[in-house]
């Protein structure tokens, strides 16, 4: 008989045996996964297409996602702007996504305004903090709402624009420090089209650059770098020749076959000298058609130009000859070099060369495709989706006046353009913003501007949100679609999403103007929704099928141009002997990349310096001031004084001191802070955002820091062997 006790004993023993037996078996299966076979990686990597927003060029990207994390960004091979290529800044987008200092939740100010001390709050509380003042402003004085963003393209721009219109405020200001204002104005005067030109580098045979920066930070660096490569090597028998005029040997100038230095602020005069020779000697059909030298051109004989610019007369004549003989040829101006009041003249003079070469609308020349075509269905609202690529400096200055007078009761800030950092301190942006009683900032990072807000709302990065975009150049009619390639890493909401929700709560006009449940719904409605065409387009990264129709050519083409204008340098040449030449950093752009360690540790192409900013001077100038490489100097202008280390550039004019923008942050996190001083503080509060029209003086000083440079451990190669 089996009694109860025995039954339990037996049962226990059986269970024990089963348990142990089972363990052994399981172990055998487990071991191979504890020590996985060689080259074994978990999961399968997938690629998702989206858009890059590290700068306004609007490239397309594909992102490798493994186990729910973005691992690598590459250019989208199908995208017409960059065709699979990507620059260093685009590659570094991953570090913005997984940045340790990225904002993970909404924050409200807990100390004094500008103290930078914040307290985390929930989204519910944050939205109620936003809606309270917003409702009051809407009922009492809707025009006292200011929206200050970077230029927003695509439907994000539509949402923001419609929100402000329905809200009843005309004060929507977009600020992009490197917006090519002068080029657009000049194009309107010379070509009759108020837009950016498309330069067909790939098919050109002769390229003249006037302080051009198209390979580093210009309008679309990856697009033009790719086109430049094709110009050099993709044709069987033709290699495009490239001449660069400018006061500094930049990265773009280094790629030129011939770098011809000119005095600062004389690029346009060199261009007129070339135009003079073309018309005088009737070198091209368009130049012959211009007939006699006009009064505008006749003073610019090569000899006269040599006196003003320092470029030899025979070089100017030879450049004109070669440019005319090797058609199609192309002339390109620089964006940073044409930021002063004389910028329009320089750009117009360069544009004149394209007209004289007869290359407008031709392959290998300039053309003006209708960029806004994709959004034509929006009629009068089209400029909201495809805004003109202007800097908005005038709008910014007007807004500053209003802010100071107390006209704004609330401000909504967003974007990476960071006006507190990129505007000259002489404009007193920080002080003006303190006059606005309530400031909301949409941002991923606290920086000099967003740390002045009362309420900070974290937004997704470009790799985590929905959106669409039309690039300024090179897009051939494409619309880039952006999608979240990974699940948002933090509890973030995009600015259009919050605006749509806010409009709903405000009711009335705003709710009617933004009739969507979310920004994703807005995008889906616009592109046919999931399932249909949009799904395919999301896989490809956008709509690339249609090609752009060219704009109808202006009826009468003028070959005249704005009057020649000398650059007005700020400062007395006796007290300040050198011309300050500020340029966008190849690695940090306007400073937005300064918090990404990969970009900080990428040696600058010209000076090989890292982690800190510097002042470039000619070795001859330096020896006159008793300065050695790496020495510390103070740079003094009539508006400010900073210190930096010296880096030699043998290709910079002796009367020029150049500094990159982007360093000198004080509130942009530990990777960016304390890496030199911001050279923008040397600029006066000018009528234009003139980056290269200030005089400075250098004086030796002492700094506790040193400038890290990338070494050439193997010594100097014979450069002759490489050419």
């Amino acid at each position: 008989m089996l009694d109860r006790r025995q039954f339990l004993k037996l049962g226990g023993a059986t269970a024990f045996a089963t348990l142990f037996g089972g363990c052994e078996k399981v172990q055998r299966k487990l071991i191979p996964f504890v020590i996985p076979p060689e080259n074994y990686t978990l999961g399968e990597a997938l690629w998702y297409a989206s858009g890059c927003r590290q700068c306004p060029a609007g490239c397309g990207v594909v992102v490798r996602v493994s186990e729910g994390r973005a691992k690598k960004v590459e250019g989208n091979p199908l995208h017409p702007v960059n065709r699979g290529k990507l620059c260093a800044r685009g590659q570094a987008a991953l570090q913005a996504l997984y940045h340790p200092e990225r904002l993970s939740q909404p924050m409200k100010l807990s100390g004094a305004r500008g103290s930078g001390s914040y307290k985390p709050v929930s989204w519910e509380e944050a939205l109620s903090l936003l809606m309270g003042p917003l409702k009051t402003v809407k009922t009492e004085a809707p025009a006292s709402l200011l929206m200050l963003t970077e230029p927003m393209r695509g439907h994000a721009g539509l949402v923001a624009g419609r929100f402000m219109k329905a809200f009843g405020s005309p004060h929507r200001v977009a600020w992009d420090p490197f917006g090519p204002d002068a080029m657009i104005t000049a194009n309107a005067a010379v070509y009759g089209v108020r837009d950016l030109p498309e330069h067909d580098l790939a098919n050109t045979r002769y390229l003249l650059s006037f302080s051009g920066d198209f390979l580093e930070t210009g309008i679309s660096p990856v697009h033009y770098a790719r086109e430049f490569g094709r110009m050099r090597g993709d044709r069987e028998t033709i290699r495009g020749k490239f001449l660069h005029f400018g006061p500094r040997l930049s990265m773009t100038a280094a790629a030129a076959d011939l770098f011809l230095p000119c005095a600062p602020g004389t690029e346009g005069i060199v261009a007129l000298g070339i135009a003079h020779v073309m018309v005088r000697d009737r070198l091209t059909a368009a130049a012959s058609a211009a007939g006699r030298l006009s009064d505008d051109l006749s003073p610019y004989s090569p000899e006269a130009v040599e006196k003003k610019t320092g470029v030899h007369a025979h070089d100017i004549a030879a450049a004109a000859e070669e440019f005319a003989r090797n058609q199609p040829g192309l002339a390109i101006g620089g964006t940073a070099a044409s930021t002063g009041q004389d910028g329009v003249f320089h750009c117009a003079a360069v544009a004149l060369l394209n007209v004289l070469a007869g290359n407008v609308g031709e392959p290998g020349g300039v053309s003006f495709p209708n960029r806004a075509q994709a959004f034509a269905k929006y009629g009068a609202e089209t400029p909201l989706l495809a805004p003109p690529p202007e800097s908005g400096y005038a709008g910014m200055r007007a807004a500053l006046e209003k802010m100071r007078s107390g006209a704004f009761r609330m401000a909504i800030l967003s974007g990476a353009t960071n006006p507190a950092f990129t505007l000259p301190p002489a404009l007193k942006f920080v002080e003006a913003l303190s006059k606005v009683p309530f400031v909301v900032a949409f941002t991923s990072f606290l920086d000099e501007t967003t740390s002045l807000a009362d309420l900070v709302l974290p937004v997704p990065t470009a790799l985590e949100e929905w959106g669409d975009d039309v690039a300024p150049v090179g897009h051939a009619g494409a619309v880039t679609l952006c999608q979240p390639v990974v699940t948002p890493f933090h509890d973030t909401r995009s600015m259009p999403d919050v605006l749509i929700a806010a409009a709903k709560e405000l009711g009335g006009d705003p709710a009617k103007a933004l009739p969507w449940g979310s920004f994703r719904e807005c995008i889906e409605k616009a592109y046919g929704g999931p399932g249909g065409e949009m799904e395919k387009a999301l896989q490809r990264g956008g709509f690339f099928g249609e090609s752009l129709s060219p704009r109808s050519a202006p009826r009468e083409r003028k070959t005249s141009f704005p009057a020649a204008r000398e650059r007005d340098f700020d400062g007395d040449p006796k007290a300040f002997p050198l011309v300050l030449h500020l340029y966008p950093s190849v690695t940090l752009y306007d400073g937005r990349g300064a918090n990404l360690p990969w970009l900080q540790e990428l040696p600058d192409p010209v000076t090989t310096a890292m982690w800190r900013n510097w002042v470039e001077v000619n070795p001859k100038t330096a020896s006159g001031l008793d300065l050695a490489e790496g020495d510390a100097v103070t740079i003094t202008s009539s508006s400010g004084k900073i210190a930096a280390h010296v880096a030699f550039n043998p290709g910079i004019a002796p009367d020029v001191a150049a500094m990159p923008l982007g360093q000198g942050h004080t509130r942009y996190g530990k990777y960016a802070n304390g890496r030199g001083e911001n050279p923008i503080s040397l600029l006066p509060a000018g009528e234009t955002y003139a980056l290269q029209a200030t005089r400075v003086a250098l004086a030796k000083t002492k700094l506790s820091t040193t400038l890290a440079r990338a070494a050439h451990p193997e010594g100097q190669w014979k450069v002759k062997n490489m050419m």
């Binding site: 690598k72 590659q91 230095p261 540790e601 100097q716 450069v719 050419m723």
Partner: protein, 232 residues
């Protein structure tokens, strides 16, 4: 099938922008070392872009030279490793076995191109920056030498994909991160064993030269000289 991987870098196209460097950082889990270490020339980059000056103002000129590991056919680094941590693999690449490396740094000392970099510390990825780390390759620890691998993980991936489809590797299947991103298209990568590959054609260019050819290291990275003038 035996492969002979090679890279061509066209100096006529290179603009020195540094996109290759950051692409390599992202692909190969390369640590950021900070300003102080960078000042000691301890950059961990597997590819660097050297800039050389020539001449004085106003005739000054700059020329860029991107330098990855040359993957020498007769590699000076391999001969001196006491523990066979660096060896010639089946495709003729100089591969590294990280967990054999004992950090003598003889290989770096013997490399004429100075492309080998040493982990002087256990470099940390501050959370959550480590979320970006590629699962395809290890994070190297202190005391280990490392260098460019021609993105060996991509070569393996391409081989696996080709084997799955039951075919050989086609030209363009393998593209290292630097070559993939290079905006002006200055870099070309491929298999010299394939007589129809782009790299085979590129290496017939009369502009070709190798760095320090006189040393007899037979580098697998070939440069094409910069040109002058409008024609070819």
């Amino acid at each position: 099938m035996k492969h002979t991987w090679a890279m061509a870098i066209d100096l006529d196209r290179c603009t020195g922008c540094g996109a290759c460097v950051v692409a390599c950082n992202a692909e190969n889990n390369i640590p950021v070392i900070g300003e102080a270490e960078a000042a000691k020339s301890r950059l961990m980059h597997w590819i660097r872009v050297n800039r050389y000056w020539e001449g004085e103002f106003p005739e000054a000129q700059a020329i860029y030279l991107p330098i990855p590991c040359m993957q020498c056919e007769r590699a000076p680094c391999e001969l001196v490793c006491p523990v066979y941590a660096t060896y010639h693999n089946e495709d003729g690449l100089n591969a590294m076995v990280y967990n054999r490396c004992i950090g003598t740094r003889y290989c770096a000392n013997n490399c004429p191109y100075s492309v080998r970099v040493f982990n002087w510390y256990d470099y940390k990825w501050e959370k959550p920056l480590d979320e970006q780390l590629s699962p395809d390759l290890t994070v190297r620890s202190r005391g280990v030498m490392e260098k460019c691998t021609f993105c060996i993980q991509r070569i393996r991936r391409a081989k696996e994909a080709a084997a799955e489809e039951g075919r050989g590797i086609r030209d363009g299947d393998v593209v290292p991160a630097c070559v993939q991103t290079c905006p002006p298209g200055a870099m070309v990568f491929g298999d010299l064993a394939d007589p129809h590959s782009e790299i085979t054609r590129k290496l017939k260019d009369p502009r070709r030269f190798r760095l320090m050819e006189h040393l007899g290291t037979e580098p697998r990275v070939v440069y094409l000289k910069r040109q002058k003038g409008a024609g070819r």
